[in-house]
């Protein structure tokens, strides 16, 4: 009885969230506030990246500061194919996803010898090496970047195929394309989370030696986890490139492509399916709200929004590192009547992050525990 009411509650919450997400841009379109559709698009894009980052960072437990490399690969692949072959961005997206995942697998396999902080720095190293390549490679026009040529669409269907939308409808169209891709990503993540793969990822995160002891090849599954992340980043890169109508190396390789989704994931709840979505909905509009409230005042454009981000993430880390979704919402909202019932959260199957903390002090000593 209690279990089914929780289930009903979750389905109701999901339906309500979907209804709000679908209805959100329509009054804005009618009222002419298309700017807020763009805000919505950025929320969806970062939520999608967060869901992708969560696979390597939240489930497999390997901190990744370098997935923007795969966003760049996706963006460049689709744009190059569009410029040279006139290939539809959707086919370009498939190619971008495939290339991002393959490059990720090749690059990541050696890195999986490293663990913890050392793996995190290695992902930074790959990103540092990718930057000068992007800035000097003549085939992709170096730091001058590539522009997506505008091809007037013959109709609505043609516009959807080439992802080129005219004037006032662009914000609306990209919002829904972003929503569709986010829904697809969430569905994919949900399937992975419940599959054997998802359990392998979490087993490696919780106890790598234990996982290896029961026959899980930890290096192989870390590579698979990061390639899933890379695939999501590749797809999002294509979406971003065709939205921005250009690709520049310093833009697609910006550190914020990993830091913002990471923050969104942490704020919402790391290792939880809906964590990144909740985090993105909270964090991303802060920039826009700040710039509206500060106006042209003395603090406008002075990074006040990022100060707020910093404070939020510090408070979350110090007070509730498992994120907002880990709070006992079910009990608070009276969805589960028994107060002793474990906190139930949408889509969460993983344990409490704090509960999997290992030893407390410095882990110095033997080489084996090092990378």
């Amino acid at each position: 009885m209690a279990a089914s009411s929780v289930r009903t509650g979750r389905l109701l919450a999901l339906a309500a969230a979907a209804a709000v997400a679908i209805a959100y841009p329509i009054p804005l379109q009618l009222g002419g506030y298309t700017y807020f559709q763009t805000v919505g698009f950025l929320v969806l894009l970062n939520a999608m990246l967060g869901v992708g980052w969560n696979v390597i960072g939240g489930w497999a437990g390997q901190f990744d500061f370098g997935p923007q490399v795969f966003l760049a690969i996706g963006a460049y692949t689709a744009v190059v194919l569009f410029i040279h072959l006139g290939l539809s961005p959707w086919l370009g997206m498939l190619a971008g996803i495939a290339l991002a995942a393959v490059v990720c697998a090749l690059v990541t396999y050696p890195l999986t010898r490293l663990r913890g902080h050392y793996f995190a720095i290695a992902t930074v190293a790959i990103w540092m090496i990718a930057q000068p390549i992007g800035a000097t490679w003549e085939f992709i026009n170096g730091s001058r970047g590539l522009f997506v040529p505008m091809k007037p669409a013959a109709g609505a269907l043609d516009a959807l195929v080439t992802l080129q939308f005219a004037g006032a409808r662009k914000g609306l169209a990209y919002y829904y394309v972003g929503l569709a891709l986010l829904a697809l990503t969430l569905y994919g993540a949900w399937v992975v989370e419940r599959s054997k793969l998802g359990f392998y990822f979490r087993a490696i995160r919780d106890d790598q030696e234990g996982a290896e002891g029961i026959g899980i090849d930890s290096r192989l599954y870390k590579v698979i986890a990061r390639s899933v992340t890379a695939a999501v980043y590749g797809a999002a890169g294509v979406l971003y490139a065709f939205w921005a109508l250009a690709v520049f190396p310093e833009q697609v390789l910006d550190l914020n492509w990993s830091v913002l989704p990471m923050m969104a994931t942490v704020v919402g709840g790391i290792g939880r399916l809906w964590g990144p979505v909740l985090g993105a909905v909270i964090l991303i509009p802060i920039s826009q709200i700040m710039s509206t409230t500060l106006g042209t005042g003395p603090l406008a454009g002075r990074g006040v929004d990022l100060i707020v981000y910093g404070l939020i993430i510090i408070v979350i880390a110090a007070v509730r590192p498992t994120g907002l979704l880990s709070l006992p919402w079910g009990r608070w909202l009276r969805l589960s009547p028994a107060p002793s019932a474990p906190a139930s959260d949408i889509g969460s199957r993983s344990g409490d992050v704090a509960a999997r903390s290992g030893d407390v002090g410095p882990r110095s000593g033997d080489v084996a525990s090092r990378p």
Binding site: G61, F63, P110, L111, R113, L114, G116, H117, Y118, A120, I121, A122, V124, A125, I126, M128, I129, Q131, P132, I133, A135, T136, L255, V259, M262, M263, V266, I270, L299, R302, G303, V304, L306, I307, Y309, G310, L311, I312, I313, I314, I316, A317, A318, P321, V353, A354, R356, S357, G358, V360, G361, P362, R363, S364, G365, D366, V367, R370, P371
Partner: protein
């Protein structure tokens, strides 16, 4: 060949500055096994402090290292006591979140106070000497960088003596080796961690004050040095103070030699390629003791 030697000598001098800026991270990350992604922000604060003291009170950055070091020591201890101590006991990743949050907070507070404009210190001892050169064995050595490197080297050696030769340093190393055993012999680990954070922040801020003579001062300056410092600490063997010095010299030389033969954009890429190679094939670092 002459070009190569010249580049290598310039790189060595930069290397001494890199050693000072990385050694704070060696203590926090290498010895105490805590992560700090806000390391470069302490450097940035040191640079802004030097700029502010030099433009407002005409205090030369080479003298400003004393007050800056003391203030930043206090800030480091404060950050440990108020924030890092809480996240230290939880999942290791909470340290990453907390210090990334610190990075955003400190960097953008600097933007709010100073704007993102580039600032330069001028009329200091080292900037007045700019252009002064020494000829040693046919190699040209710029005097300002040489003085900066020597100051950094002296401070570095003092720190080495502090960590390796004093009772306090031994207590710090003992805490790093085995926290419980250190407690049994009467060392308070929390205090050692606080001191490590204080020292880490002070050292990198002092390095920043010296670097302010050579680099533009702006709020986002920290990240490029943070990533370099991470590569240096890893290359040097986590926790090895002298290893940090040798790795920093290596990084300085790799950077300046790369620039001779390849576009400047690649100078950090080669540093990180060496980090990866060494991380993969010699995880204890070039000069690690374990």
């Amino acid at each position: 060949m002459e070009l190569f030697v010249q580049a290598a000598v310039n790189g060595l001098q930069m290397g001494f500055l890199y050693a000072l800026l990385a050694v704070g991270l060696t203590i926090i990350w290498g010895l105490m096994e805590m992560i700090n992604f806000a390391h470069g922000e302490f450097l940035m604060l040191g640079m802004f402090g030097a700029w502010w003291l030099s433009t407002t009170f005409r205090i030369d950055p080479l003298l400003a290292i004393v007050p800056l070091g003391l203030v930043m020591y206090g800030l480091g201890v404060l950050i440990y006591e108020q924030l890092m101590r809480r996240v230290q006991l939880g999942d290791p990743f909470t340290q990453i979140f907390a210090t990334v949050g610190l990075l955003f907070l400190i960097q953008n507070s600097a933007v709010a106070v100073f704007t993102s404009d580039y600032r330069f210190v001028n009329d200091t001892l080292l900037t007045r000497l700019s252009g002064a050169k020494l000829q040693i064995l046919g190699i040209t050595v710029g005097v300002p960088l040489l003085i900066g490197a020597l100051v950094a080297l002296v401070l570095f050696l003092l720190l080495y003596l502090l960590i390796d030769r004093t009772e306090f340093g031994l207590a710090l190393q003992a805490t790093s080796e085995d926290r419980e055993a250190a407690m049994l012999v009467g060392i308070r680990p929390q205090r050692m961690f606080a001191v490590a954070w204080g020292l880490g922040a002070a050292l990198v801020a002092v390095a920043g004050a010296i670097l302010a003579n050579f680099f533009a001062v702006y709020p986002q300056v920290g990240l490029q040095f943070t990533v370099l410092a991470y590569a240096i600490v890893a290359l040097g063997g986590f926790g090895s103070i002298l290893g940090t010095l040798l790795a920093a010299l290596l990084v300085g030389v790799v950077q300046s030699v790369t620039v001779v033969y390849l576009p400047p954009a690649f100078k950090d890429a080669f540093v990180f390629a060496s980090y990866l190679l060494i991380g993969l094939f010699r995880p204890q670092g070039l000069f690690g003791r374990f």
